[in-house]
Symmetry: D2
């Protein structure tokens, strides 16, 4: 969709297409802060530590109480770019005043950039101001939008996140908590939400809990607690807050002026009956930061197990007797690779972990000269190969996943420039065969390379490696925590979608 | 209202205060273009020629039909600044494509600047896309906003102009024309509107017709007509379009694909009964451009009469026998001053029109060094005095009006630097004693200098002139056209408001 | 010359072409301030009032003495754009500290814009820091540049103004005043200079005194004088400084810490013998501001005489008996037009001065839509015609000069849109037939319309007027002051150049 | 030095202080390209891969031959910021045309930022255009600058790099090569230079060859060679050019239109006698990229040896029996750490290499909230700790060097947040005790932590570690290549400076 957005950052732009929605709002980072006198600054640090969840745009809405006028003021600052670029000292200290704030990092999706779509969204309705940041993707967007427009709502953005605001404003309930519960019962799909109002900071996860969200706190000088709600625990670490607990699936959490004194978080269910959780298993494989705890478990530990289990299934290339150099695709693959190398070594193989690829610290949009292969060049500006480590060796490259395969192919080509003897590829997840409908920006089935070849051999040939092995689905499930009520969404591997997307009829269908 | 808007133009900002509205949306310029293949460029020129109606911000929404996808796309570009600065070639030709457009110039009001409030507003609702630009000020804003919020509407701006969009979207009528009529019957006060939808370009003036709006057209190469709706006729001149007629008070005009072929404009009443017109008389005195025709009459001619009638009432200072130099405060006072000087001369007085003040062409925000009198300095950077014309002479300065009096005082002080023998001030309108409630940004009664002194003598002393005379109210009324059904809003002079502002109760009261 | 300068203002750019020089550095404004604690702010106001002398770029260098380190620091700020846009409060108060400053406005010349060429230039040499601003154009640039390069000088700009710095730095004299005198004796042509060093503020005018320059002062609180050197007296008015005297032709003036106490300005000759002055007569006709005193005489008064003398030579069109409306091309033509109309009236003709053209206050680069005549459109965005004044009348348009004739033609066409009965053009100067070699940006002989037709009739036909009359050369000379030692450069009318331009040989030739 | 540079990037700024020089021009990256039709784009990629050598500013000068006018044009684009931010497609393809270019990355030094100081420098002199980029630091700057100013040179920057241009322009030799040789014999200290003129691309390294510089080439479609001169070989890899050889110390290399056909590089000595090389040993320890070959040897391999030799000298903490986790400070320490861990393991210690610190990919200037410890926070935004790897373990952290110690202290504090049992620090270089005078931005002796404590125990206590060991000087020398004529500058460890800095007298002293 060409929506007429100017590249000039100094121009405000509104959405243009009345009926065509954005691609799914993809994996993003959300933050809420309550009862901290530097709420915006804390939100800024937290967003920075969640930068890996979205690099396209960032925004913060801060709430300040004006004692003289006895009412709340909300201040918004948002723009395209990285967190450190969007905000500066002046904005954080002079503009975004107040002791409560919500923030959002937006993931880059091709062609759907629009200034108006940058979150958090702020509006006013009969119960006062309301600011909202959303990670996830609704499945009944089309039906809800049609319904709301029929009822006279007007839309400022092409995101499904705006729908929440309309649903809340239209709820006939008196209590704001009930209005929010009303709205969340109507919206279907994946959402981890933070909502800031005149009354409280609300946090909610959809009934299946696809995307992560957790609560932290920190004691203020006056003995009260500052509370934080963030996508991953690494965002609590950076502001030295302690982890309290996850927001549970099917839960609305309320942090208000009472809670900051008592320390007792208020909580409501969204649906009366809580279904089994369907945590996104890809958060463990790739998306979350290794130093985070997700769904209550260390990401780093899960990744190490993925590597170990892969080594158990597919160790050094068959028929290899001599020395093998194991390298990671940094940084997501590092821990898994160490696990892989170590188990191999333990099993008596002559494997050695080496650093053969270095990730560039200076990222950005690169000009591609005419005549250059675009993807190859991007890989070249993102990764440096350490020739001395690769030249003449048998190499096993460990990566976390293959989606389209285009980046992998370019990377393998780059590695081959160092003239290794052999290049083998090991993937710490099963083949990705189905698009994600809950917020991960996966392409359509046709674009997924695993749907183009009958087996690993075919894909490996296409990528230019001497051998390719994926981790088995069972190997994946053995690597992540299990237990009562813990379940995963594995739709991208299995095609089994916990909540169906309802496009045409407006009806809503849930698993089984 | 401090609404937390950053001065950084590259940041998008949302409104912040839920309940406090902007100051009245003041005198602005609006433009609509339909069936012209350079609709955005024509709108841009028209806005440029209406720049005097608002210098704070400008915006254009263009509409393009995508034949492949068989639907309309709307492209918005708006920013703070002058028309020539906000738009450039790239924006006008690449971004704002399409053969229909609406545009808006916004007047600068202290402290209420917010990127989100820049018009035109665009949104989507069940009947498709809709873009709207508004000149004027509603009188039942508070009641309507409360009502709409109660019904579940959420607000993106603090302007009363957004209310139209909600009212249209909420109308239960099927036809878009009826939806708009519905909305306009509910909104009270002053509005000259252009509205662009998937179906047509709509133009409307409130039942009293406070603010001007007129229609022009131009033949295209294919024989069809391009239509334009603009605030003043000078905007038709710049694009070489012919003046067709004014949009009448209480009228909704429709320009659609049928009209451009037949040349027969469609028209509906807003209220069933059309009240007497209440044209803003200040448009003749000061606001409109002298080369425009307003409410069907040349502004230049009206101003000349103002000057002549003033000369009839208050010629050269009493007791003056020698030569008198008459100078204008450029540019609005020029024509009236010529009229004033000529009548004096005809009456045998030794008056000579001279150019004693030159207006600077290089305007902008001026830094005021500490220790400088702010207002004096602004006057000094805006006007140059021609010493040779003023030194040792008896001077009559002719100006159009006095509001706060602060600028006049500084100007007189500047003129006195050239050491004239005497300085007399003549004003081509009566004393301004009441604020405007229909879109002119007049200050409160307390701030109006005419309310601080019992007579002209007192005001003149305060301003530092040897004598001061205003035009009488009757002299004013004799200067503007009269006739059947032609009436004026003269509230700023008389306090007689045609439509009362309804703040508290939400009830709506009309004259008589 | 395409010198590869990016339009992006945020990028620094260096000159590109080693051998091809800029077009003549055209008529610019220069300012110097000494011993004022807000030197940069005063320079800023003065530059703003000289904005008509150059709109392309502006710059200020301020000098601050650091008592702790016991040395001078110089701070530079310059950029493309108008004075009010280039500087803001932060720059003027925080960056440009110090009690002495020099400033420069640059005239726009097609295609030669380069950030590196923006003045003032600052550099360091063995006698300390030196900042220089130059109005005028050297005539032996090529020879000097070749010589300096041969001696090992390296050039940072393509301006002839940089040559002064090299000449000063290379002088073998010990005293800085002698170094400057040395340099000025070598440079030939037109220069009005302000130079700020560790020792003093220097001001100088070339031996013929082509371009204006004058001195003003203002008493400080401590009894010392703040001194100012500016291109026109209007720049003294804006900062409320008193006019002391002109810098004389062939004079170097020194303002140092002694002068500010004694009030006695130090002065040296450049050449031992002072030739007759050759003031640019065009400053009276068009370039200077009407409220300035130039070469010791009011510009406004000179222009009025031009109009009166023109009326004596060429009153109303021959054969005209009825009423004639006289209008000016604002703003430069206003005073002359009043003079013209009044003399006509005195002679019994039925002429009436009217305001038929209004100059737009909102200037800037206008986008021209494809299919539009570029020049016509520019005229249309610059001038508004007042239809009521022109329609059906016999019109005499009074303008100051015709150069290429293209703007005049478009303007006449615009006036004809109002359907006057006749349009006659009267010019308050003789035909321009020769390019200026001393700093005015006149085109080559081929481009001057007066060289294309044998008489006024031919030119008038080309411009589309019913008759055209120029002021005679004698009429011109009768309008400007005369007396002992007062002479004018009239080369653009007569081709008689006081100083020849020496391109090829490097030899320097002066008037006979 | 406060040099009055505005933070506003859109303003051009000149140097301000006449006599105070910048801090040493620090370690930078330089690039030259010759005979490639996308010379600017190639330079851009090369600069991007050298981004680690300087992040403050970047610039490119491109040279294009205009066949019509038969002369060369040079186009400059430079600005503060990272390479990917400073250049975009428009600049690279439309502005920086031509088949030859030079580029420069500038290192950030506190407080000395000035737009005018951004390289490459371009100027014109009697032999035509000349563009120059310099990595290194001269030692006789003050004397040379004084001498040149005495001779009449004027300076545009405060860098020592500009001195080269003046020396070349002043040389009395006819041949450009001899002019350059003349200049280089006069300049003393460290320089790796690329110079682009109308005749050729020159590259030169000072007689001791402190800083690296190497030559690469690539065959064009027409059979001729494109040549490249770059600081490190990684810049050849990114543009797929083959490494030819290093520019040798004391060598001037010429690439001209003859060379690109024959493939035979022209070469001259600077001094008649070539001294022993004095390669900067710190390039191996820290500065160069691990995937580069520097001074003819793989950086990665040298770092591995540093780690191994350190393990030989100082293995696991004395008295440690149990498991020890070895972690690197990424990315510079990675390879050395692998070497360290492996040798330890080989010696029978129970050491395990783990990834306990992850470097953030999103770097930039971070706002520090009031009350935060600035340095701690910077470390926190730069490094993420992986809690699971560190908690309860005995940790050995391997880093490359300690300068001030402040960052190390903050990093150790951050690691301690994960509650390891013990934290030991191992450094793969000896204590840094002396500032660098040849281009590395080391602080003064007082600021170096190693000068504050008598032994490692004291420093370790200060840093908060359980033990600290440096690599011995002998261990360092054993890690880098040795051989005939290969020598190192180790002044920062030993205080033995190969070329003395001559400040006061202007005399030049060399090692003897």
């Amino acid at each position: 969709m060409d929506n007429g957005v100017s590249s000039s950052a100094s121009q405000t732009t509104s959405p243009s297409s009345p009926l065509e929605l954005d691609k799914p709002q993809c994996n993003c980072g959300v933050v809420g802060a309550y009862n901290h006198r530097q709420a915006a600054a804390m939100t800024y640090y937290a967003l920075h530590s969640l930068q890996h969840r979205g690099q396209e745009a960032a925004g913060i809405v801060a709430r300040r109480y004006n004692y003289e006028r006895q009412k709340f003021y909300y201040y918004t600052h948002k723009d395209e770019g990285l967190v450190l670029d969007v905000f500066d000292e002046k904005v954080l200290t002079e503009k975004l005043e107040g002791n409560a704030a919500v923030g959002h990092n937006r993931y880059s999706t091709t062609g759907s950039a629009s200034a108006a779509n940058i979150q958090p969204f702020f509006t006013t309705y009969r119960s006062g101001g309301i600011a909202l940041a959303h990670n996830g993707n609704l499945t009944n967007t089309v039906a809800l939008r049609k319904y709301l427009q029929y009822e006279g709502s007007i839309f400022q953005t092409t995101t499904d996140s705006e729908i929440f605001l309309h649903l809340i404003a239209r709820s006939k309930k008196d209590s704001q908590t009930e209005q929010i519960r009303d709205a969340l019962q109507t919206a279907k799909g994946a959402y981890s939400l933070v909502i800031l109002t005149d009354n409280a900071l609300y946090a909610a996860r959809d009934p299946h809990g696809f995307r992560p969200l957790c609560i932290g706190r920190k004691k203020n000088d006056d003995g009260s607690y500052a509370y934080f709600v963030v996508s991953e625990t690494c965002a609590l670490d950076i502001i030295s807050a302690e982890y309290v607990r996850d927001v549970r699936h099917n839960e609305i959490v309320i942090i208000d002026d009472e809670v900051v004194k008592t320390g007792e978080i208020k909580s409501f269910n969204i649906e009366d009956t809580t279904p089994e959780a369907r945590h996104c298993i890809f958060e463990y494989i790739y998306f979350s930061r290794p130093d985070s705890k997700i769904f209550g478990y260390n990401v780093d530990r899960a990744r190490r197990k993925l590597g170990k289990n892969l080594a158990g299934e597919s160790p050094v290339p068959p028929g290899t007797s001599g020395a093998v150099t194991v390298i990671a695709v940094p940084d997501s693959g590092n821990t898994a690779t160490l696990g892989f190398a170590r188990v191999n070594h333990k099993h008596g193989f002559n494997t050695k972990f080496e650093i053969g690829l270095i990730r560039s610290h200076y990222v950005g949009r690169t000009f591609i000269a005419p005549g250059q292969d675009k993807r190859e060049f991007k890989v070249k500006t993102k990764f440096n190969i350490v020739r001395g480590v690769l030249e003449g060796r048998k190499i096993v490259v460990v990566d976390d996943s293959i989606v389209r395969g285009t980046t992998s192919r370019s990377l393998i080509k780059l590695i081959r420039e160092a003239q290794p003897e052999e290049v083998h590829l090991r993937i710490t997840s099963p083949p990705v065969k189905y698009p994600c409908k809950y917020g991960m920006d996966f392409p359509s089935r046709e674009e997924l390379i695993a749907n183009h070849y009958p087996d690993e051999q075919g894909i490996g040939d296409e990528l230019g490696v001497d051998s390719l092995c994926y981790l088995s689905f069972q190997g994946l499930m053995n690597s992540v925590p299990s237990g009562d009520g813990i379940g995963y969404c594995t739709a991208c591997f299995t095609g089994h979608y916990p909540v169906e997307v309802d496009v045409a009829s407006g009806k809503l269908a849930t698993e089984e």
